[in-house]
């Protein structure tokens, strides 16, 4: 996997000067467009985020109450939302692959599967704990601030701090 990516994306590996293993932990910095865009092209992602934000609020998946119901098996709602989202996603990605659908700029869509490492277990358990406590994953943190729960700004800053501490301890943690 790594060699293949290095071959297809040689320039990026050099530019960022970060070892590939670090970057392949995330999907970031991998899906690279060769087309140079001006900043306003990014506004379409603002619109996509806006629609996603409306969905998060209207589906009430950002509610601490819904998360507590989920972890107490008191409601099907969260399972229904995540389950049907995953099924829709599987069908969509399958269709994209099958018909080799391209982006609106005519570039082929490539997906970079995440590699397994033990971080998915340890980090997953820790994030699960944070999810149960705050009732929010990262997307809902932004959405909650938008609903007027301004104190969640502190939670978001704390999440940024958590990410930073992970980054600084990364070499010492089991992966």
């Amino acid at each position: 996997m790594e060699t293949k990516d290095v071959i297809t994306q040689p320039t990026i590996a050099k530019e960022t000067n970060t070892d590939f293993e670090v970057r392949s932990l995330d999907t970031i910095c991998i899906n690279e467009s060769r087309i140079e865009h001006t900043w306003w092209h990014s506004l379409k992602y603002l619109i996509a985020g806006l629609l996603f934000g409306i969905l998060l609020v209207k589906a009430e998946v950002i509610s601490w109450f819904r998360i507590q119901e989920m972890f107490r098996l008191q409601s099907f709602h969260m399972y229904g939302v995540i389950g049907s989202a995953v099924v829709t996603g599987i069908i969509s990605v399958g269709l994209i692959k099958k018909f080799k659908i391209k982006t609106i700029y005519g570039e082929p869509i490539d997906l970079h599967p995440k590699q397994f490492n033990k971080g998915q277990i340890y980090g997953g358990l820790l994030f699960g704990a944070g999810w149960a406590m705050t009732g929010a994953c990262p997307g809902p943190l932004y959405a909650l601030i938008g609903t007027g729960a301004t104190v969640i700004i502190v939670t978001l800053l704390s999440a940024i701090a958590g990410t930073w501490v992970y980054g600084s301890l990364r070499e010492k943690l089991p992966h």
């Binding site: 910095c29 992602y45 107490r72 008191q74 099924v87 994209i96 929010a136 994953c137 909650l144 940024i160």
Partner: protein, 189 residues
């Protein structure tokens, strides 16, 4: 105006879930972007406080789309709250209402438990652990796991990646243990 009344209600899972799933192909077709939110936290670190840490030394400017996306989430939430809101209290399972009563949580007027998450609560031990401690775990855990509910559970599973299934199962295990065994002790504080 029946439609407007209808969309002001909370949306059922079979409407909201598939629409959330469609964000995956939307971002891919828009510009080859893999759906994910927690990376934005890393980009913010890389942009503001890289501190010479290798994990934050990359060209975050190439990932600004993600920051536009999360800004959109915030704006979308404002729109949904201001104009697509029925103003009715949230309907919660009576068993949960019963349980939360003993922790002095009675306010269901918002989707956020106002008794728990407010500025003065930040100065209580309970509020501090939940808001600051919980937030820290969300940021630390998602980056350690390499993704969150969107990046692993939705995007990763959509692409049939088994590491994402492992991560998603661990999210759930961590949540079940915390919500049922640890959270009651925190809420009692």
């Amino acid at each position: 105006m029946q439609f407007l009344e209808w969309i002001k209600q909370p949306w059922p899972w079979y409407v909201a879930g598939p629409l959330i799933g469609l964000v995956v192909p939307l971002l891919l077709i828009m510009g080859n972007k893999s759906f994910g939110v927690s990376s934005s936290l890393r980009h913010i670190c890389a942009a503001c406080i890289p501190a010479n840490i290798p994990f934050f030394k990359y060209n975050w400017r190439k990932e600004t789309w993600n920051l536009f996306f999360v800004t959109g989430i915030l704006l979308g939430a404002i729109i949904a709250t201001q104009w697509l809101n029925s103003g009715k209290p949230i309907v919660v399972n009576p068993k949960l209402v019963n349980e939360l009563q003993q922790y002095n949580i009675h306010n269901y007027s918002s989707i956020v438990p106002i008794d728990l998450f407010n500025w003065p609560a930040l100065l209580t031990l309970r509020g501090f652990i939940l808001l600051v401690g919980g937030g820290f775990l969300v940021g630390f855990g998602t980056r350690y796991a390499g993704g969150c509910t969107s990046g692993h559970a939705i995007m990763g599973l959509s692409n049939l990646q088994w590491p994402s299934l492992v991560a998603t199962c661990c999210f759930m295990i961590g949540g079940f243990i915390t919500a049922n065994l640890i959270l009651p002790a925190i809420l009692h504080l």
